[in-house]
């Protein structure tokens, strides 16, 4: 409870709210695209590197492999639940439902970063290799979603046709598995691992000290973008769809809680696994959907992921996941 209130009044959440309010009020405040991309690169660079250094320091817990498998499993399974739920309660078409489902199986790296920042503020340690788990969870959900669409037949026919044939070719797979955020996260993780604490000593003034401040500025921009999305396509989301965006993170977190208990993750590690599962992608998956499922409407999946689930996780979800993880760990 205290944590929840502390979180709601943290600079991080407040700057997100500032961005949201500014764009809903149609202020001209905006962060240049190149600057926003640079901030995102910085955050992935720093979080990946820190994770690797932490593995170098604490040694590789035997559970890395099992944690990776658990992450892949969560990412692959969550879309089935999300798809079933959406088809049951919302009027979304199979294609739209599958596209949304892919987003909820995959992860939001900024939500992960925000949770790790909350952990650090509270002095809770976590397994450094969760950065690798985060990277591993980005793509399996996309496969599940495409499988769901193919099974539905309707769009599966198109997928077998000439236009469709081109859609999930080798090129597309390469794009999905080598997308920038996966490569940077894993790359920085490995470099952090190799260079260890001595490497960290050299660059910590860059990647550690200013980290939270950069995160605040980035969240300001996230708020601006989310607000613009809500203004432009908020009306397109029906109430059941919005409720889905609030309930689904909790369902995913519950699944992750069971696995975290099985894996015997530390308190911090469990919080991050819950957060990853509960978070919804808004970078890697949307790009993949535009290529693989162009008929799915971005105004639905993007607005839901960025305008509903992201703020929910940031403001309310993370404290819940800290509390829930406390039930099984620490």
């Amino acid at each position: 409870m205290d944590l929840a209130i502390a979180n709601l009044t943290s600079p991080m959440v407040l700057f997100f709210v500032l961005g949201l309010v500014a764009s809903l009020a149609r202020s001209s405040l905006s962060v240049p695209e190149a600057a926003a991309k640079a901030l995102a690169l910085y955050l992935m660079f720093a979080i990946g590197y820190k994770g690797g250094v932490s593995v170098a320091e604490h040694g590789l817990d035997a559970s890395l492999i099992s944690a990776l498998l658990a992450g892949v499993l969560l990412s692959a399974v969550i879309p089935f639940i999300a798809f079933g739920l959406l088809r049951a309660v919302s009027g979304l078409s199979a294609i739209d439902a599958a596209a949304v489902a892919a987003h909820y199986g995959s992860i939001s790296i900024v939500t992960f970063v925000a949770a790790s920042s909350v952990l650090e503020s509270s002095g809770i340690a976590y397994e450094g290799y969760l950065v690798a788990v985060a990277a591993a969870m980005e793509t399996p959900a996309i496969l599940t979603a495409l499988f769901l669409v193919a099974r539905q037949g309707g769009p599966g026919k198109a997928a077998a046709g000439p236009g469709g044939a081109g859609r999930m070719d080798a090129e597309t797979w390469r794009e999905i598995f080598l997308n920038g955020s996966i490569v940077l996260l894993i790359g920085a993780f490995v470099i952090g691992w190799v260079t260890g604490p001595s490497g960290m000593a050299e660059i910590s003034a860059f990647i550690d000290a200013p980290f939270k401040g950069v995160l605040c500025l980035f969240l300001l921009d996230m708020g601006l973008v989310a607000g613009r999305g809500m203004a432009a396509s908020g009306r397109q989301l029906s109430l059941p769809v919005i409720l889905f965006g609030l309930a689904m993170p909790l369902i995913s977190a519950a699944l992750a809680l069971a696995l975290a208990a099985l894996l015997g993750l530390s308190l911090g590690g469990a919080v991050l696994l819950l957060t990853l599962s509960a978070s919804a992608s808004y970078i890697a998956v949307p790009a993949a959907m535009r290529v693989a499922l162009p008929e799915a409407q971005p105004s639905i999946y993007l607005t839901l992921s960025l305008g509903v689930t992201f703020p929910f996780n940031l403001a309310i979800g993370i404290p819940i996941y800290v509390w829930a993880a406390g039930l099984i760990a620490g």
Binding site: A36, R228, A232, S233, P286, R290
Partner: protein, 101 residues
């Protein structure tokens, strides 16, 4: 100065598909094109702006071609743009060094 008839084909396309478009264009035998950044726009799928945009946005691809390449280029481009967000416009133009196109 001596000029030659040519066509200017302008294609607005969502960025995740841009690479596929230029690959298709090149496969159709057109090796010259220029890609311009796009800041925002509006169409049947709504209004969007690049500023603060997290994913992609759009790009404009301009190809100057000899008139006899028109059909090959349009077919190649349309096969990519068809199911995606995008617009194709063709206009007549003149160029200086026809052998280049």
């Amino acid at each position: 100065m001596q000029t030659h008839q040519a066509l200017r084909v302008e294609i607005m396309i969502e960025s995740p598909m841009a690479r596929r478009l230029t690959d298709a264009i090149e496969a159709a035998g057109v090796t010259g094109y220029t890609v311009l950044p796009v800041q925002g726009g509006s169409g049947r799928s709504g209004t969007w702006s690049r500023e603060g945009q997290i994913t992609g946005g759009m790009l404009a691809v301009v190809c100057i071609i000899q008139p006899d390449r028109k059909d090959a280029l349009l077919e190649a481009a349309f096969s990519v743009v068809e199911r995606h967000i995008g617009v194709i416009a063709i206009s007549a133009c003149e160029v200086l060094r026809a052998e280049r196109f």
